[in-house]
Every structure is written in structure tokens, then in C-alpha cells.
């Protein structure tokens, strides 16, 4: 029979009372300070409480107390995974598997580590190994569904998810996976049904919350197609994704070149250019713009999370600024109005992507970048209002360069994962 504090800690951990569970395990350690399992469980709790340093220490102690305990290595792997230190996490999990290759949890975390690095083939393999041990492990099954969907194998992904529901009908993640699969196919109504069900089962499920928001926005035909395109882009490798974006940009540049040499094709070329610009801007900020419109919808407003709300409002404001600026420029002939209108449009690029960046330095970098752009525009307004027209014009060029750099920077920053200290 285990120490009563240990048993109590397990009960509390199961009901997700993390702080109380921590106290219980610490009390258990007073009686048995060398128990590797207790240190390991403490590490898991501390990681969930985001006390990274303590969690790492507890996991290290668990291993030092019993280096042959696979759960101790699993605990370290879990902590490292939560800290986004994927190489360390993988090392520990492989060690756990070397000591005991019949525990599906080890393969689940291994699959999750690969999934977070977008290594979908490896994630699929690890999830399949976990399912070989326990064919009814919903965590491994959900990761297999995700990995298959991300590799473009939608039909098999859906089959796995439906099979998962047979033994875990109340698994919110499985319903959310089915929702995302439906969005891939452009079936926003089915997607919505699955997301609503996932949220009924687990209202705080983030993946289902953002899925529900996307399924509501996908009612808009143009957004639906854009979303399908973006989801399809996500199934390609990183190189292929950049290739397509650069290819589209090259096509745009080609159109500009053709326009200069063959002015008679101007109608077609302008259409291609407008299409490209529309695609470029909408891919960065259309989602946030639709979030903004949803804020005025009686029920849709609840789907916009607190985190997304400031971006939605900022994007709404910037598009309003774009329309007003360019409109006023056309009607009054005052060029600064037009400049301001375009500046607002350019600012939608970084602003719309701020929340897509991981918390920490990527988000701060983009925020700082946007602030610099804002500063330049403010400088432009002040210079223009005080009659320093030449200085004002000089500021337009760095702004344009920053906008171009920003479009590349945002794509890169959005793909960075930060280590947690």
C-alpha cells in the first residue's frame, strides 16, 4: 500500500486540483524522500502549473533517484515537451521507451513532440506504435488523425477519427479533428456541428473554439476558399509553401513587366495584379477582418476569443482608415490622405499576424516592428502638417521598404516556437 499522501495526490491530480495535488505529493516526499515516482508526478504537476525550473529539477531528481524508472524519463520528456525543448524531450522519451516499450503514453508524447515540430510522418509513426500497444488510446488516435490530415490524407484521417468515436464517443479532441477535416473539404456546416459538439463536451477546448470561429467565418464564400487554400498550404512541406508564395509573387512581377512592354494587355494584367494583391492582403488579415464583423453579430461575437478581440478591432480600424484615406484622397485630390489610406492597408500585414506568433520574443518583435511603422507614419503626418513636405515624402520610402520586409518577417515569425524558461 502506498503512502496515503501519495494516494491523495493521485486523486487530486485526477480531478485537476494541481496545487492541492502538489501539496499532497510534497507531504508524501517528507515520508519517503527518495521515491522516484513521487518526484516524477510532482514534475508533471509543476509543468502544468508552468513552473518550468522547478518542474525540470523535480524530473531530474526523479531520474537520479531511480535511473531505471521509465516514468521518471517520461516525466522529464513531458516537462521538456511543455517547454518546447523538443530535442531534450525526445531524448528522454526515447530513454523511457528503451526501458519499457509497452506503455502507450510514451508513444503519445513522442508523437506530440513530432507534431509540434510539424514532422508529420514521424508523428504518424509514433502514434501508430502507441495504438499497437493500446488500439483504444484516444490520445494516440487523435494524433494519428492530425498527422494524416496534415499530410493530405483526409479520407484516412476521417476514418481514424470515426473509429475513435466508436470507443471514445465523448472525446472532444476527436470531434474537433472531424471539424477541421470538414473545413479542409470546405464543408463548413458539418465542421460547425462537430465543433459545437466538441465544445459541449469540453467548453475550454481551444482547438474547437478556433475551429468554431473559422467555421462561422467560412460562411463567406471568399473566406471559405481562402481558408481551404491556407489549410491545403499547411499540408505541404515548408519549402513547397514558400515556393508557392514566391511563385505567386514572381507571377505578379511578371505581370508588371508585361504591362510595361505590352500596354494593350493592361486589362488582363491589372486583373492579375489586383487578384494577387487581394490574395496577399486577405491572407494576412481577412480572418481578423471577419472577426471584426463578427463582433457586431448577436451570437457570433461570443466566438471571438478575448485574445483575438484586440487584433480584430485594430484590423477593423485599419481597414476603415484605408477606405476613408483613399476615398478622401480621390475626392479631395489631397495626396497625404491617399498616403495615409495606403499606410493603413500596409499596417494590416503585421497587425493581422501578431496573434499568430508564439508568445515571447516573436510576438514582441512583430509588435515592435509595427510600432516602428506607426512611428514613421506619425512622423509623416507631423512633417506634412508643419509644411515639411520634402521630409514627409522621404519617410514614405522607408515605410514601403519596411512593409515589404514585414510581409516576409511575419511569415517567418509565425512559424517560430519559443522555448519556455
Amino acid at each position: 500500500m502506498r503512502n496515503p499522501h501519495f494516494q491523495r495526490g493521485l486523486q487530486l491530480l485526477k480531478s485537476r486540483r494541481l496545487k492541492a495535488a502538489e501539496e499532497a505529493f510534497r507531504a508524501a516526499l517528507l515520508d519517503n524522500p527518495h521515491d522516484s515516482d513521487t518526484h516524477g508526478l510532482l514534475a508533471l504537476i509543476l509543468a502544468d502549473l508552468e513552473r518550468w525550473g522547478e518542474a525540470t529539477d523535480a524530473a531530474e531528481v526523479a531520474i537520479s533517484e531511480d535511473p531505471e524508472n521509465p516514468d521518471a524519463h517520461y516525466a522529464r520528456g513531458y516537462v521538456m515537451y511543455q517547454r518546447n525543448r523538443f530535442a531534450d524531450a525526445l531524448e528522454s522519451i526515447n530513454e523511457a521507451i528503451a526501458l519499457d516499450n509497452e506503455d502507450e503514453r510514451y508513444f503519445w508524447i513522442k508523437a506530440a513532440i513530432f507534431a509540434d515540430q510539424k514532422k508529420w510522418a514521424e508523428a504518424e509513426a509514433a502514434a501508430r506504435e502507441g495504438l499497437e500497444i493500446d488500439p483504444e488510446d484516444e490520445d494516440c488516435a487523435n494524433l494519428l488523425t492530425l498527422a494524416l490530415r496534415k499530410q493530405g490524407q483526409s479520407d484516412e484521417a476521417e476514418a481514424v477519427a470515426k473509429r475513435t468515436l466508436e470507443f471514445a464517443p465523448e472525446d472532444a479532441t476527436t470531434h474537433a479533428e472531424l471539424g477541421w477535416g470538414a473545413l479542409h473539404r470546405g464543408d463548413h456546416q458539418t465542421a460547425r456541428t462537430h465543433f459545437v459538439e466538441a465544445l459541449r463536451l469540453k467548453p475550454n477546448h481551444r482547438q474547437a473554439q478556433s475551429g468554431l470561429l473559422e467555421s462561422i467565418k467560412a460562411k463567406n464564400l471568399f473566406y471559405r476558399q481562402l481558408l481551404r487554400f491556407q489549410l491545403w498550404l499547411g499540408t505541404l512541406g515548408r519549402g513547397a509553401r514558400w515556393g508557392i508564395i514566391i511563385g505567386l509573387w514572381a507571377l505578379y512581377r511578371l505581370s508588371v513587366g508585361v504591362l510595361k512592354t505590352h500596354p494593350e494587355l493592361s486589362g488582363v494584367m491589372y486583373f492579375i495584379m489586383a487578384l494577387y494583391l487581394g490574395f496577399a492582403f486577405s491572407s494576412w488579415s481577412l480572418g481578423a477582418l471577419l472577426d471584426f464583423f463578427l463582433l457586431f453579430h448577436p451570437t457570433g461575437k461570443f466566438a471571438v476569443t478575448r485574445e483575438k478581440k484586440p487584433t480584430a478591432i485594430a484590423i477593423g480600424g485599419l481597414y476603415a482608415g484605408t477606405i476613408l484615406g483613399i476615398g478622401a484622397g480621390i475626392f479631395t485630390g489631397i495626396i497625404p490622405f491617399t498616403v495615409l489610406g495606403f499606410a493603413c492597408l500596409c499596417l494590416t500585414i503585421p497587425t493581422g499576424s501578431i496573434n499568430q506568433c508564439d508568445k515571447g520574443w516573436p510576438r514582441y518583435t512583430l509588435q515592435a516592428f509595427t510600432a516602428v511603422q506607426l512611428l514613421i507614419i506619425t512622423g509623416y503626418i507631423i512633417a506634412d502638417m508643419t509644411g515639411h513636405y520634402e521630409t514627409a515624402w522621404k519617410l514614405v520610402v522607408p515605410f514601403a521598404i519596411l512593409t515589404f520586409m514585414g510581409s516576409i518577417l511575419t511569415n517567418w515569425l509565425a512559424s517560430v516556437t519559443v522555448e519556455r524558461r
Binding site: P4, Q7, Q11, K14, S15, R17, L199, N204
Partner: protein, 450 residues
């Protein structure tokens, strides 16, 4: 914050070592922080200035007991008895310590003496353990006979039976500010059936049943439960998660049954289960058999399958109603589920008045502070006052003069504290929006105006 408070109080005591009130605040603080060593030192220092202070000695005995120094605690209580008749409270405490030390006969004697002086101090559970009847008569029957000076039950098992006190709360609904709808619901479900049992019986309704209260932490659920017991002048047994889960796994069910039995023997009795979600978390979440058994035991106790639950009133509170097994909500179990929101403006002003009682204040506009503390729980308001007091202490130490608490001090402190209910409502909001098919969370929807 506590460490800062302790340091500030210690510094204040250096300037005014004879201030017993201040030292007792420090002692309470240290004891709450489980720093019994420090508390003992402070109590001994207080006794230098007031060598005959019975309350100081009693507190010191409590402190020594907490430190595991049973003999030391008993010696102090003995010395109090030699100096004159100790208070009934002190005698009850002594009886408890004597029982702990295995001196059952002396404990029984002490208990008798205390109850004969003041029947209000009667502690039924202690009496039962001592083999004494409700009215204090010795009941050394076969089941409770003494074995080598200890109760047979205590010898037969090493497993701790929860030491549940049945109290007689003195607070009533008049002490609870606001919450009128809640009070009315409780009257209808609990108080009227007690006062007019014949009307309820004529409609085939039994007296009893359960009410589940849910809401953000620190908003007065426990206080309301206590006031309910006070309102009907019944016994009150408060059962926390620690009381049940601290036992050996597999014995929890037995302990739960013991608690219910103890309450049934003392009807009318209000049993209050705090954080009931941890006890009765969804059976799906409890994958271990231990957890399931506990829930099933709890449900059968609620149903009164093997015993009569007439006159047993069950109140429960939870911060996480969404984790509660739906079986708990069936008729006859917790069939009334009440939302306890954060205190409203009027209640906040009243709570502030209660918290600052005994502290030096000057012209505090409670309504103004209440307006600035929208969404604050009772616990948050206490934190506001604590912070304002700490600031005052720092100033007092620096300037050497005490200045009273003012409205601005409280408002400044309130600005630095975020309402703890915010996080709870962020989660609750999701349940309202996405998981409210049964309408269970409609009161939250109304409160949040969704």
C-alpha cells in the same frame, strides 16, 4: 504578502512590546502559516506582560498541541485548573488532549465537567468517541469498552476516523448581506419544512434533501451554509475534501458512512460538503476504482438506502459544477442548484464594514469603496483591507505614529488587486456558451448578461 505582514507586525511590536492585541494578530498569522515555533515564542512574550491571561495560556496549549508537544499542552491546562476554574472551552480542549493521550477516564470526567458548566460546548463526536451519551451520561457498553485505558475502537484499528466536529453556529441569515433570492430558496427547501413539517408531510414530502451552491471562490458559500444551520438552530458538520481523501484509499467510503451516521444521530443537522466536485467528480474522470467507490458510496448515503435521512439537510458547495457527476443532480439528491454570485454593491459595503471592525478607521465611505470593487469576492475584499493595513503599518513604523484607515487607503489598495472571480467567469462563460443544453448555467448567463 504574509511574510511582509509578519515582518511589519514584528517591527511594530518592537516599538510597542506590551500591545497584546497586536501580538495576538501576529500569533494568529503565524499559526495560520503553520509557524508554531514563532507563535509559541510570541505567546510566551505576551505572558510576560499578562501572566494571568487565560486566553493566552489556552492559545499556547493549542500551539504546543500543534507542535506535537502533548505533555506540554496538558501541563499548561493543568496549571490553569490549579489557578481557578478554567473555562468550559478549555476543559473540552483538555478532554480532547486527554483522549489523545489515552487517558480516557480523565477525559470523560473533564468532558462531564465542561458540559455541566455550559451545555453549548457539547461536542457530540467527542462524546461518542469517549463512550458518553448525548447528555453526558457514561455509556461504557460492549462496543465502546475500555481496553488498556483506550477505547476498543481505537485499539482495533489504526486507521484514523475523521474527527468531525458538530458545531452549533451562532450566525443566521441576518448576518449574511444581500443574497436574498438564495436565502428564499433555502427557506423554501430547508427552513419551512423544519418549521412546518405537517404541511410538507400532508403532501408526501419528507424533511431533508440537498442544495448545491456553486459560484466563484470566496463569495460566501460556506458562510451561507453555516448561517442556514444557525437559522434552524441545528447542528452543523462541515466536511472538506481533505477530511475524506486524507484517509487510506479504500477506507474513504467507511469514513464517509461514519460521518453520515454521526449526522443522522444528531438530527436536525446540516451537513456541508465543501468542494464537493473533488469528492464527486464525474465518474468518467475517476478512472480508478477507489474514486468510483467513493462516489457510489456518497450517492447511496444521499439516497438514504440503508438509513433514514429524515431531518438530515445536506448542503454542498463547488467552484466547478461542470466537474460534478450528473447523478448528483437527480431528484432527492442535490435537486436545487443555486448560483452564488460575487457580492453586490450593498453586500460588498457590508462585508467591508465587518472586515475593518476592530481596526482604527476614520470616516470610511464604504459605498464608495464598494463601487470601486465590482466583481470582488469576500476574500478579495479581505485582501484589499490587508494590503491597506500593511501600507499603514509600514508608515507607522517609519513615522512612529499610528494613523487610521481612510477611504482613499482602501481605494488605492483595491486598484492593486485584481478580482479573483475574473478567471472563474472566463471558464464559466465557456460553459454557458457551449455546454448549457440543460439550462443549468442560465443564472450565470443572466449574471454575465450574455
Amino acid at each position: 504578502m504574509n511574510e511582509t505582514g509578519v515582518a511589519a507586525l514584528k517591527a511594530a511590536l518592537e516599538a510597542d512590546p506590551a500591545n497584546e492585541g497586536l501580538r495576538m494578530v501576529l500569533v494568529d498569522m503565524l499559526m495560520n502559516m503553520a509557524l508554531f515555533d514563532g507563535a509559541e515564542t510570541e505567546l510566551k512574550a505576551a505572558l510576560v506582560y499578562n501572566p494571568n491571561g487565560e486566553h493566552l495560556k489556552l492559545k499556547l496549549a493549542h500551539c504546543l498541541d500543534k507542535r506535537g508537544n502533548l505533555d506540554g499542552a496538558l501541563t499548561i491546562l493543568e496549571s490553569m485548573a490549579l489557578l481557578g476554574a478554567p473555562s468550559p472551552d478549555a476543559q473540552i480542549f483538555k478532554a480532547r488532549l486527554l483522549m489523545k493521550a489515552g487517558k480516557i477516564s480523565q477525559a470523560v470526567e473533564e468532558y462531564h465537567s465542561a458540559v455541566s458548566l455550559d451545555s453549548q460546548v457539547a461536542d457530540d463526536l467527542l462524546a461518542r468517541k469517549l463512550g458518553i451519551s448525548e447528555h453526558g451520561a457514561a455509556r461504557m457498553d460492549k462496543q465502546n469498552e475500555l481496553v488498556n485505558g483506550r477505547l476498543r475502537a481505537a485499539v482495533e484499528t489504526d486507521i484514523a476516523v475523521p474527527d468531525m466536529d458538530i458545531q452549533k453556529p451562532k450566525v443566521t441569515f441576518s448576518d449574511v448581506g444581500g443574497m436574498d433570492e438564495l436565502k428564499e430558496e433555502i427557506r423554501l427547501k430547508i427552513i419551512h419544512p423544519i418549521h412546518h413539517p405537517e404541511i410538507y408531510k400532508s403532501y408526501g414530502k419528507t424533511v431533508g434533501g440537498g442544495i448545491l451552491m456553486y459560484g466563484p471562490p470566496g463569495c460566501g458559500k460556506t458562510f451561507l451554509a453555516r448561517a442556514t444551520a444557525g437559522e434552524i438552530n441545528s447542528g452543523f458538520m462541515s466536511v472538506g475534501i481533505a477530511d475524506v481523501l486524507d484517509m487510506w484509499i479504500g477506507q474513504s467510503e467507511r469514513n464517509l458512512h461514519e460521518m453520515f451516521e454521526s449526522a443522522r444521530e444528531n438530527t436536525p443537522c446540516v451537513m456541508f460538503f465543501d468542494e464537493v466536485d473533488a469528492l464527486g467528480a464525474s465518474r468518467q474522470d475517476m478512472r480508478t476504482s477507489g474514486g468510483r467507490h467513493l462516489i457510489n458510496q456518497f450517492l447511496s448515503e444521499l439516497d438514504g438506502v440503508t438509513a433514514n435521512n429524515d431531518g438530515l439537510l445536506i448542503l454542498a458547495a463547488t467552484n466547478a459544477p461542470w466537474h460534478l457527476d450528473s447523478a448528483f443532480r437527480r431528484p432527492g439528491r442535490f435537486d436545487r442548484i443555486l448560483f452564488v454570485p460575487p457580492p453586490d454593491l450593498f453586500a460588498r459595503a457590508n462585508i467591508l464594514r465587518v472586515i475593518v471592525k476592530g481596526k482604527p478607521v476614520e470616516d470610511i465611505n464604504y459605498e464608495k469603496v464598494a463601487k470601486k470593487t465590482e466583481g470582488f469576492s469576500g476574500a478579495d475584499l479581505k485582501a484589499v483591507v490587508d494590503m491597506a493595513v500593511e501600507k499603514k503599518l509600514q508608515v507607522a513604523i517609519k513615522d512612529g505614529a499610528l494613523s487610521p484607515l481612510r477611504t482613499d487607503d482602501l481605494i488605492t489598495a483595491a486598484k492593486q488587486i485584481k478580482p479573483s472571480t475574473k478567471e472563474w467567469f472566463a471558464t464559466a462563460r465557456n460553459y454557458v456558451l457551449y455546454s448549457n443544453q440543460s439550462g443549468l448555467y442560465n443564472p450565470i448567463r443572466e449574471y454575465l448578461k450574455l
